[in-house]
Symmetry: C2
Subunit: 311 residues, 2 copies
């Protein structure tokens, strides 16, 4: 049997998984992320944990195919990050350093959003496909793109930053990135709450959302209950996201677009709101692109990281 | 010495080139494209011409590394086209068929716009880079994308169809593809002429373009002469193209964007009109993306086709 490890480094915990190269998850565990002292302990801690697991399970050196790592920052093709917001790192040659700590075991590293897309391709909603886009609708809008089975990394590791496509040229409010009209301002959980507040302010239409502090969750709960105003809000969200995905598809021509993140917990009700405007605006060659919900949840990171070793 | 051939199949002629694998163009020639009978002679003609050249130059079998082909249609990862507008072909397994006609010499095939991007990366304006976008401003707007040294083909071979990104949601006129507001409607030679006509109709401002039938060429000639109205037209063109490139860069994170096609013959004067709105709208990680003019002209196709063999 041959094994690979997937490591998903987050700001609070480092998630880890042991996989067979056939794609069975054999073990899952996590350790705290020690970000103090510029995060100097993070990679040594991860290496120790992996080496301990190898010993525990009596896995021989030849059976370990490698260790993949997902990092919440742009990662270039050489596995180097320039800085991270949450880990305390400045410049760090993650791939080289971890490989050294692991006594020469092969290491591959990637941005966490791209890695999650690899995970969904390998073991989740994109199974069997080679051209997969993953859109993560959380506090922000993250994106990961897989082309012909490999991550679209880009020149500086910033490929797939879908959340910062401009979808509204005349927006006056500023996105977290400093630009105006980014997809993230309309399609993230925060963005949907903002659309909802604006809709409620626009008139006095009756809705269960009235008098509440609407969130993405309460909006889609109201959609499920048939609330007309909530449906209008969901339609507005869907036009922004669906049309952006049509522009993305013209460039990337994916087989499938996987919708993940907290907002996707709304379930299947979400998809038609995105699909309808997508279909209307899609270039003929992209009309067959499918939309599906993510399947792996928090495991997408460890799965995709492990998958990096199989490319 | 090792050799590769580049074949660029167009509607009128098939351009061919013999290259050393180091990138020297050793020979260039062309043959007519015989499109009659569903284009059945096109590949046999090309194969005959290549085999004749191999004989002429006394090249041994072992010295031929392969033959790359660019085709004016979507080409999937297996080198198959479903149909072509200009060659008469329906479904054709180009890679397999030409490989057979050449007695087993390795063949790779790609879409002509993607192939041209590979050419500019190898021997033209993108030399030394691995993440290259090429935008061809001709009758339409074509696009080719190279990621980490490989063409972005996509699921059905329709990756990089940049001309059909939506840049104006409320456009009433229809693009050739049936959609509304495609980049091609503003940034192609035809699109620039249309912007010029609309600008002239808008008021009576004095311009050398008044009373003429403006074209992309006459607009940029007038720009060079300092014509204020022509500069306004170029600015409008530049905003559409520059902002579209900012959205593209967010997805692809290229090192360089190569501007080619007939419109690019205007020369360096073109670039600031695109760069300024690009820089204004670009995501921080993409601010360093450079814009350059294509260098290979009509040779981009044979160069990029030959380069396919070296991947």
């Amino acid at each position: 049997m041959r094994y690979c490890f997937g490591v998903d480094i987050g700001g609070t915990t480092v998630k880890m998984g042991l996989f067979s190269t056939e794609g069975d998850i054999l073990d899952k565990w996590e350790i705290p992320t020690r970000t103090e002292n510029e995060g100097e302990a993070i990679l040594p801690d991860a290496a120790d944990s992996i080496l301990k697991k190898i010993e525990e399970r009596n896995i021989s050196d030849e059976e370990v195919q490698g260790v993949g790592v997902g990092i919440p920052a742009p990662v270039d093709a050489e596995g180097v990050v320039q800085s991270t917001a949450n880990l305390g790192w400045g410049y760090k040659a993650v791939k080289a350093e971890l490989q050294c700590l692991l006594g020469g075991i092969r290491v591959e590293a990637g941005n966490d959003a791209n890695v999650a897309a690899m995970g969904e391709m390998w073991l989740g909603a994109g199974r069997g496909e080679k051209n997969v886009v993953m859109v993560t609708l959380g506090t922000g809008v993250g994106g990961g793109i897989v082309i012909d089975g490999s991550m679209l990394v880009g020149e500086t590791g910033a490929g797939g930053e879908i959340g910062h496509m401009c979808v509204k040229r005349d927006e006056v409010e500023t996105c977290g990135c400093g630009l105006h009209g980014c997809l993230e301002q309309y399609a993230s959980a925060t963005g949907i709450a903002r659309l909802a507040r604006k809709r409620l302010e626009a008139d006095d239409a009756e809705t269960v959302l009235r008098g509440t502090r609407p969130s993405a969750k309460t909006v889609f709960d109201a959609v499920k209950a048939g609330d007309i105003v909530a449906i209008e809000i969901a339609e507005e969200f869907g036009v922004y996201l669906g049309e952006a995905m049509a522009n993305l598809a013209v460039i990337v021509n994916p087989a499938v677009i996987v919708i993940g993140g907290g907002v996707s917990k709304a379930g299947e009700v979400l998809l038609p709101f995105i699909e309808k405007p997508f279909k209307k605006r899609a270039f003929f060659a992209d009309k067959k692109t499918r939309f599906v919900l993510a399947e792996l949840g928090n495991d997408a990171g460890i799965c995709g990281a492990a998958r990096l070793i199989l490319s």
